[in-house]
């Protein structure tokens, strides 16, 4: 790692990188040919190639967003991105068959251990594609489909064709267009009617190569009365040049179904993280986003829920941690499109060492959505004077029967809290770590325990060496 990169990221724990061992690597830069080549290489049906090409043209024509951190966005050099990199010729079902260097990476990240202990299934994606995939036999027997997205398209094209791009069309925004054009990897899940997947299934996304673009595409369909908890973790090594992560996630919760999607993204400080996540909840269904954003250079991510059926419920709990040189522009969007729908949004952010965190929220209640309830709470914690926090809430309320609550607070760590904790034997850094963990607790308690422990440890590491 260069000294420059080291200085930029401090003690980012996952900043190591392994030698690149690509079996196929595309030249940097994007063109219609690159898009066609990706599709052809994957042996995709023509309809998918057509969608990709259409999306590519839309991406080229679409302006960059004119809101958010435009200066930072302008720093993306689309010509200097590798759009496709294959590290392994196939997706292995046995961990032992994964190429050694890649296996080593995931070993260091603790993935196989986690699978043995507490997961119902695992996908490990390295660069553009999954290198390892497994699912518990009992789930498979119940008809649960859990595949990487490329295999999903191959084995279940009829389902993919029916739902792909229905929740996040390629015309949604510039980055959803880019993802649709060059997507690779991600997860495909279908849970049959009435099946409850008790153990969470997990995908782990790792960018290893320099100037890499990772464009995973995830589609989760929970059929009537079913439920699933999907967990996603991400890391990348630390380089002095930037990488681009631009995913699209589509969730579909049919009548009475429940999908929980938990993320802890811990990108290094050179990753642009521009992700479109949206779910649809039909009658009495629930979509929950539990979204943690640590690291990255710029994150723009607003998990959204369309409450389309009566009695549907949305839950968005998110935390963002912005350190030096980082901007977390995150939030939530909930659209109440049907009567008696309910939503809860809780957003917590921490800014430190000049970092910036923004909450950007959208709450919409359409005229026909009577009897809706929504509660939005945004709390920001500033750890020093140099840091910044902003809130940009938008509300479009078209029905007067809506019952809405909005609370926002900005607070600083108080000297009294620090003195109190230090008088109990904690150093200032440890005291800060406790306060920060406590602030994120409403989020952390929603995570599987292993993730919660890891997140707390991570935040404590972030506090180390931070006090002068």
């Amino acid at each position: 790692m260069t000294q420059e990169a080291q200085d930029a990221v401090g003690d980012y724990k996952y900043g190591f990188h392994d030698p690149e061992a690509a079996t196929i690597r595309f030249d940097k830069g994007l063109s219609e040919q690159v898009v066609r080549d990706i599709s052809e290489l994957k042996g995709e049906p023509a309809w998918m190639t057509d969608i990709r090409v259409k999306a590519y043209h839309h991406f080229m024509e679409r302006e960059m967003p004119t809101w958010g951190n435009c200066d930072s966005l302008a720093g993306i050099d689309f010509d200097n991105v590798t759009y496709f990199l294959r590290s392994s010729d196939k997706t292995e079902k046995d961990w032992d068959d994964v190429p050694d260097d890649i296996k080593r990476t995931f070993d260091r990240l603790g993935i196989p251990e986690a699978e043995q202990k507490w997961l119902g299934g695992v996908t490990a994606q390295y660069e553009s594609e999954a290198v390892y995939h497994s699912i518990r036999e009992d789930l498979e027997e119940q008809g649960v489909l859990f595949l990487d997205m490329d295999s999903g398209l191959k084995e279940h094209p009829e389902i993919v064709k029916k739902y792909f791009g229905t929740v996040v069309p390629h015309t949604d925004n510039k980055f959803s267009a880019l993802n649709t054009a060059v997507w690779s990897g991600g997860s495909f899940i279908y849970v049959p009617k009435g099946i409850h997947v008790e153990m969470p299934v997990q995908a782990y996304f790792r960018i290893n190569a320099k100037n890499m673009g990772q464009f995973e595409r995830t589609l989760i369909i929970a059929d009537e009365g079913s439920s699933i908890h999907y967990v996603e973790g991400c890391t990348a090594p630390t380089y002095s040049t930037d990488s681009l992560h631009s995913a699209v996630v589509e969730l579909i919760a049919m009548e009475g179904a429940k999908i929980r999607y938990s993320t802890v993204q811990n990108w290094s400080a050179n990753v642009y993280n521009l992700v479109t996540k949206r779910g649809v909840a039909y009658k009495n269904a629930t979509v929950e986003w539990v979204d943690g954003n640590i690291g990255s250079k710029l994150t723009m991510k607003y998990p959204a829920v369309l409450l389309k059926g009566e009695g549907a419920h949305a839950e968005v709990i998110s935390v963002a941690y912005a350190g030096e040189g980082q901007h977390q522009d995150a939030g939530a969007k909930v659209h109440h499109l049907a009567p008696n729908t309910t939503s809860n949004i809780l957003s917590k952010s921490i800014s430190k060492n000049g970092g910036r965190s923004s909450y950007r929220g959208m709450l919409q209640v359409t005229p026909k959505a009577s009897g809706c309830r929504s509660k939005v709470v945004c709390d920001a914690l500033m750890l020093d004077e140099d840091s910044r926090s902003d809130t940009y809430p938008t509300m479009e309320i078209g029905n007067s029967t809506a019952d809405l609550e909005h609370e926002a607070s900005v607070s600083k760590v108080s000297g009294d809290q620090l003195f109190y904790l230090m008088s109990r034997g904690h150093t200032e850094e440890e005291a800060m770590g406790l306060i920060v963990n406590g602030f994120f607790e409403p989020f952390t308690r929603e995570l599987p325990m292993e993730y919660a422990v890891e997140l707390n440890r991570l935040l404590e590491l972030e506090m180390e060496g931070s006090i002068g």
Binding site: F419, M422, S423, G425, H426, E428, E430, L434
Partner: protein
Amino acid sequence: MTEVLLRVENLHVSVGDTPIIQGISLEINRGEIHAIMGRNGAGKSTLANVIMGHPAYEVTSGTIHYKGKNIEEMEVFERARAGMFLSFQYPAAIPGVQVGTFLRKSVASVRGEAPSPRAFRQELNEAMKQLDMDKSFLSRYVNDGFSGGEKKRLEILQMLLLQPDLALLDETDSGLDIDALRIVAEGINAVAKETGCLIITHYQRLLDLVKPDVVHVLIDGKIVQSGGPELALKLEKEGYDWVEALV
């Protein structure tokens, strides 16, 4: 054999440009209980806080020795690890941090090693039983939404677990009803034999239950009178006017 735990010599303390403590000298031996009494604003809490190392207070002259060592350069957490403890008048709330976690981490910090989960649980159960505290306390957030009495009980619980050599108890009796006061006093008495205690209070009522060896009267940042327990009784009966007349 007497062991001098705390020696305060001609201490002067300011907050900003305002002098608060103006020449206090005091010596506490292990096993002794000292009470500091005085009206609001006399500097009682300042004394406790400055001994613990609160950064808002500046020692302008004089010294504080703890176990024979000048502690001027010691950080707050180092003082805690060396066996000093402050029971706060207004303990800060730490939202999101569970009492159980906080206690375990604090005990580990002060002792220098984490106790085994099993031994710690047992220790905790006993201490909580002694203070008549319900187990549900452990999953609540530290001082968050606690009543005055609950906060004070948590302070004393920490004292029992951290087993300090020197305990500074700042208005620990305020906000307690009679039953809670008795329980808290029992807690203090349980550690007092092995500890040096400095009890800061307005009222006699705690001193009925925790017998002080020495009572000091603090007025305008100075100790104007020291004596035995009878001094506290006299203050209770006659108020502070007669001591003020001595100044």
